[in-house]
Every structure is written in structure tokens, then in C-alpha cells.
Subunit: 185 residues, 2 copies
DNA sequence: GTCTATAAGATGATAGAC
DNA sequence: GTCTATCATCTTATAGAC
């Protein structure tokens, strides 16, 4: 097996377990067992468990936006794209079985001292809000809310919708959030 | 020390640590040390760490709504009460140093098998939404959104606002959320 | 009801052979 | 680069004395 394949395998298994079980409930032992590699092999590719966590967050961040770009590529205008963002999040929510936002989840259980982790969470949320901001400035909307408040509305409805979906294990909140934005746009 | 005082002391210390450090990062050892009680004393009052977690969630739930009732008691009408709910959450957010919703935080790190924990989280969120629902049905609003969508908007803006506040460690999102609701009401 | 001592297992990380 | 063996520490929980 090529070197990179071992590293990828470790990261794949760790990513799945970190999200499904939680970071703190996932031990190094389980990762090496399910990845079927030696204990020292893990520490050859990653300095520590925290290092593995950072790699997980970075990969998840990049894939998240790659998939969204792909999802929205065919959608024509900014209004349609803003609404399709909700479809993307509903689609993704179903794919990950309603366990919530990867970044919010880690943010909730990480030690306060791991400042690099929180920095990555902020980067992710910031980029999402910038994406929404870009589209809102392009769209000709009703003007019930001004641009800045509309950006916040769309962002917060998505964040609230994902959080609520993880509590009820369904997409109802996000579907309602989409209808709200449809009415306001 | 009276029996109940020991039990209260354990629960107080555990509550503080569960929220500040996270449930999984808080060990029984630290709880007994900071509460200054014997190891077996804890197990005399609580069957297990999970039992302690459930007691923490129940107490937090009751106090949360007690404090909100107190906060909103003087506020005159339903419109003002709906807006003051945001003030309550901002006030509370500052008090707990922006570490997010107690229930969402536990929901994010608890094992999927602890179904009683998730049931309590749903109870808490459900009661909050019912409270909002009650007020919205009383208020005479603009009608930009119908009652049901307005209830979801207010609920999701609060949930998103708290989550976002825990990422940025400030109240900006909740303050903007309040302005949005002011515009829509 | 509270105490100390201890159990049995899991934790993250390292040493040294190949 | 991968391996096995091992470390010191921490985990939740229980036994038995007072």
C-alpha cells in the first residue's frame, strides 16, 4: 500500500468516527483497529490526536464547499442559488443522517484550549456567510429587509435549521426555513 | 452537612464542569475533588455519571424557563415579550460566557445510545417553540409571514443566533436577529 | 451517609525491532 | 514506513470499614 493510501485510510476512518461517535468518544485504539494499521503508523503520519482532528476539519471544509459549488453549478440566477443552498443543506443533512454541522459539533465538544480548532470553525462559518452575502448583493429582492439583515436572516435560518434538524432527526426546520426565505426574497 | 446539601453540591460542581469543559472531558475524579466529597458519596446520590448528566439537564431546563418567566414578567404585550426574549437570550449568553446552548452542546457530544438525554433536549426545544407560538398567536403583526412561518423564523433565528454567538464569542448575531424580528413583526 | 482503597479497563503516546 | 510491546495515566464504578 502506498504511503499516501495509509494516511488517507487513517483520515477516512477517523473522520467517520469523529462525526458519528464524537471526537472525545473516539479513541486512538478504535481508529487503528478499524483502519487496520499499526499504532505507530498513525503517529508516523499524524503528530497527535489533535493533529488528526485538524486534518479532518480542513478536509471536511474543502469538500463541503466543493460539493456545494458542484450542487449549485447548474442553477441559473442568484435568487435560485440562494434557495438551492437550502436544498444542498437538506441533501447533505440526509446524507450524514441528521447528526448536525461537522464544525458546530466539534466546537461544542472540543477543549477551550484548542484554539486552532475554533479558528477553523470560524473560517468555515465565515466563508459560508460570505457566499450568502455575495449572492444577496446580486439579487433584486423585495426589500422587506435591507441587504445586511437579509444576509443574517439567511445565514441564521440555515444554522438554526441544521441545529434543529439534528435534534429532531429530520429536515422539517430547513424546509420551513427555505419557505421563509422564498417569502422574503 | 445535611444530605441534600451534599447532593446539591455535587450537582452544582458537575453542572459547572459539564458546561465549561464539556461532559466527556469531565471525569468523576475532578467532580469529587472540586466538590470536596468522597468518591462513594457521589455514587450514593447518583447511580452513574449518566444519571448525573440527566439531573443536570433537568435542573438546567427548569431554571432556564424560571429565569425567562422572571425576565419577561414586567414586559407588557406579546410583541414586546417576543422582542424581550432576545434580550433574555443575550443576557444569558453573556452570563455563561458565550459557550452556547446547554442542551445543544450536550446533544453534540453525547453518545447516540443515550436516548434519555436526547429526549430531554427535545423537551427543552419543544417548550421554547411552544412559548414563541403562544405569543405569536396573540400578537397583531404585519403579516409579511403567516403565523406558522413567523413562529419558525423567531425560533430558528434564536437557535442560529446562539450557535453563531458561541463561535464568535459575542452577541452580534442575536442582536441582528432581534432587529430582523422587529422588522417582521 | 461518608469514607479510603482498589478494581478492571481504556486512554494517548513512545521505544526499539525489522 | 510499518510493526509489536509497553508506558504512565486516567476512566467509571464497587467493596468494605466506620
Amino acid at each position: 500500500m502506498r504511503e499516501s493510501n495509509v494516511k488517507d485510510k487513517i483520515l477516512d476512518v477517523a473522520s467517520r468516527l469523529f462525526y458519528d461517535q464524537g471526537y472525545n468518544l473516539t479513541g486512538i485504539n478504535q481508529i487503528i483497529e478499524e483502519a487496520d494499521i499499526a499504532r505507530a503508523s498513525l503517529y508516523n503520519h499524524f503528530d497527535s490526536k489533535t493533529d488528526l482532528l485538524l486534518a479532518y476539519l480542513e478536509q471536511t471544509h474543502h469538500r463541503w464547499f466543493e460539493e456545494m459549488d458542484e450542487f449549485l453549478r447548474q442553477i441559473p440566477g442568484p435568487r435560485e442559488k440562494l434557495l438551492a443552498m437550502f436544498d444542498y443543506r437538506i441533501h447533505r443533512q440526509q446524507k450524514v443522517k441528521y447528526k448536525g454541522c461537522h464544525f458546530s459539533k466539534i466546537s461544542a465538544e472540543a477543549s477551550q484550549h484548542e484554539i486552532k480548532v475554533f479558528a477553523l470553525v470560524r473560517v468555515h462559518k465565515e466563508r459560508l456567510k460570505n457566499y450568502i452575502s455575495h449572492l444577496v448583493h446580486q439579487v433584486e429582492h423585495k426589500g422587506t429587509l435591507d441587504d445586511e439583515l437579509l444576509i443574517d436572516t439567511i445565514f441564521l435560518l440555515q444554522e438554526g435549521g441544521i441545529a434543529t434538524g439534528s435534534v429532531y432527526r429530520n429536515s422539517q426546520a430547513l424546509k420551513n426555513a427555505k419557505r421563509i426565505v422564498e417569502t422574503l426574497l
